[in-house]
Symmetry: C2
């Protein structure tokens, strides 16, 4: 730590992170790291594994990142970007609140989806005891954005008279929380995640005063 004043950014000597070597490679490493971190947890994943997953040498990781923690933070940031793009796609999908909510429910499952990945990353990170401001921010922003998208869909549906009267805030919280519970049961008890989401979809539709939920969409949100 160069005490502060000016010393933090010497022009001539490029520092580890600020230099922009190969953005594609960086993204590739983030993506490989993200998959492994989300699946096995920070402590169980080695730099070697991540490098192997990306098809490069372990030492290269240290060219792009200051260390394992820095890579983790970057991977979480990468996931948040994915999430933002997904939420935008869901919300903009014809601006139909019913379809938005249906597509969001469909995005809850499958190991490739960003939503369960973020939940796993977040659980693991919180339990690590580590405090990385960039990760704290990223997690908060992700869940804030998800909530905003949901609230907007519910309010739009209410305004158009599509939904029975529900309180958007509590409703959004209820639905999000339940789906996190589904994730837990799926992991711990090896239950059928998609089936659990399907059952819940019926409950959600009932609460919104809608008819039978639409057939499961083929559309992969993520």
């Amino acid at each position: 730590m160069a005490k502060a004043a000016r010393a933090t950014r010497r022009p001539g000597r490029p520092r580890r992170e600020p230099a922009q070597p190969d953005p594609d490679r960086r993204a590739q490493l983030c993506s490989a790291a993200l998959d492994l971190f989300a699946r096995d947890g920070f402590a169980r994943v080695s730099i070697k594994q991540i490098a192997a997953g990306a098809g490069v040498d372990p030492a290269l990781i240290y060219y792009y990142f200051a260390g394992k923690e820095d890579l983790f933070a970057a991977a979480v940031g990468h996931a948040v970007e994915n999430g933002y793009a997904m939420f935008a796609r869901l919300a903009g999908d014809g601006d139909d609140p019913v379809m938005t909510i249906a597509a969001w429910l469909d995005a809850q499952e499958g190991p490739g989806s960003t939503i369960p990945k973020m939940a796993r990353l977040g659980l693991d990170y919180r339990r690590s005891g580590a405090a990385i401001p960039a990760v704290d921010d990223a997690l908060r922003r992700f869940y804030d954005e998800e909530r905003r998208m949901l609230l907007r869909a519910v309010r739009t549906g209410l305004a158009r008279g599509l939904f029975r009267d529900v309180a958007p805030g509590p409703f959004a919280r209820f639905v999000s929380t339940y789906l996190d519970g589904v994730l837990v049961r799926t992991v711990i008890l090896d239950e059928d995640g998609p089936a659990a989401v399907d059952r819940f979809r019926v409950e959600v539709w009932r609460r919104l005063g809608l008819q039978k939920p639409p057939r499961r969409r083929k559309f992969i949100a993520d």
Copy 2:
């Protein structure tokens, strides 16, 4: 298991696990390990930490257990024993289904409670990719027993005409799943767990057709 004819258990030479040195110490080690595994996860906890937590030398762990995994399995088994005792206490508590369910809800929060501990252990274990039959069985038995206790309480309440008509199976699953979701939100978003449980209690009481939920009990189930 002494399945294999005789070879597994030579009488003269005491093997690592079958010997029964000091049951109290063994339980103490399980308990210390349980707390740490549940809090930080298997991979982040070192034998050294566990020994320090129990106030003994790390080498002693290997006198009582065959290794870290064996200790983990024993700790999970220990937690299941705690859980059984707790469920029995909840169910036998005056045989009042309303109080049983209320006490069970109260037991959902607090890091000392076995229920969230089991959830954390289970999540961590499943993600580790390890396959330890003893742990698989223990997890299944814990959740089976919890479910049995819940179902019994609901059915008793229905039989006595205390509850509005609900389907016991789906209801039990719904409540358990939601509470797992509360755990996740509590950990990831640092939400107020007890407050979330209190809110949910209102919803549960409404579904059961009961009046205002009772005040939070002082009784610590665990």
